[in-house]
């Protein structure tokens, strides 16, 4: 077994020290690819077996569409751990996920429509 690493990362500039893998059962690779902006939402299908408190907590947050970043913030777990929990929920059919549209913006009319919609929405807030 490897000793816990002490050293370069453990300084005041970095954030808190965590031992996150207990929640994700040692796993750091989600089965589904998630981005911080992937949106997730409960399907309403109840999982067939009891998921445990962490998964149940996350599922409870997924009533409306919410981003991975928001869920990570609410459960106070690093993004990578949150992604593992969410991929378990996708695997058992309890939530669906929608990846953000990552295509770079180009001179296409759809991109222009998108930007105009954002501009409109922002101006309404002024």
């Amino acid at each position: 077994m490897t000793e816990p690493v002490e050293g370069p990362w453990l300084d005041g500039d970095a954030g808190r020290l965590v031992r996150p893998y207990t929640v994700s059962d040692g796993r750091t690779k989600p089965s589904t690819h998630f981005d911080l902006l992937t949106l997730v939402m409960a399907t309403g299908n109840r999982p067939h077996h009891y998921l445990g408190p962490d998964h149940t907590h996350v599922l409870g947050l997924c009533r409306g569409p919410l981003s991975v970043a928001e869920i990570a913030a609410h459960i106070r777990q690093p993004a990578v751990v949150t992604k593992v929990l969410l991929s378990d929920l996708v695997d058992c059919g309890a939530i669906t996920a929608r990846a953000p549209d990552r295509a770079p913006l180009g001179p296409h009319s759809t991109d222009r429509d998108l930007l105009e919609a954002v501009l409109d929405g922002l101006r309404k807030r002024l």
Partner: protein, 195 residues
């Protein structure tokens, strides 16, 4: 491409980055415009810096994290704009690669008392071809510069807009985002004219 479907419960999620040097007002700007209390998401430093394929044994390790603030603006139920304040410390900027992938664009906040602090952010976005504008956060005790003086000092390309703002003010910060999106539209129509 997401299909357009009336029963689609998912809005389109978009992302804008708020970057700049240490203490320039990034978190303040995110808080000012966000409809939710600004949240913070953490990445594991070891996770992003190490190859994810060789994590055997890593589950025993404690690891530090770096936090990124973010906020949300819902735009009419169909679009949600997420604003991410990037970590001020330059040595955490490898995190920006994931953050900047797929971003609409960026705001580089500048403080005229320490203009050189924004060079690194400007350089980062220029290199990656991510469009950005520069917003000068006018701190009370700072000398007021004209936008063109700031442009010259940072050696910005003429097409990059420079705006003045007060990051604490909702309308002022929203206007910065309006300027960014307007800039993105303008750039696009110029490209379309050329093609």
């Amino acid at each position: 491409m997401g299909s357009v479907n009336d029963s689609d419960p998912f809005p389109t999620a978009l992302k804008v980055l708020i970057a700049g040097g240490f203490g320039v007002g990034k978190t303040t700007m995110v808080s000012a415009v966000s409809e939710i209390e600004p949240l913070s998401t953490e990445e594991l430093l070891t996770q992003v810096s190490a190859s994810t394929d060789s994590l055997e044994g890593v589950e025993d390790k404690s690891t530090t994290t770096v936090a990124m603030d973010f906020g949300r603006i819902s735009l009419g139920g169909t679009h949600v704009l997420y604003l991410f304040g990037t970590p001020g410390q330059e040595r955490f900027w490898f995190l920006w690669d994931e953050l900047s992938a797929g971003a609409l664009g960026a705001v580089v906040l500048a403080d005229t008392r320490r203009l050189e602090d924004c060079f690194a952010a400007v350089d980062f976005f220029e290199r990656r071809g991510i469009e950005f504008i520069v917003a000068v956060n006018e701190f009370d005790d700072a000398y007021r510069y004209e936008p063109e003086e700031v442009r010259a000092a940072i050696d910005l390309k003429p097409e990059v807009p420079v705006v003045l703002c007060d990051a604490r003010d909702v309308a002022s910060s929203t206007n910065v985002l309006v300027s960014l999106v307007q800039h993105l539209i303008d750039t696009r129509s110029q490209h379309a004219d050329v093609i």
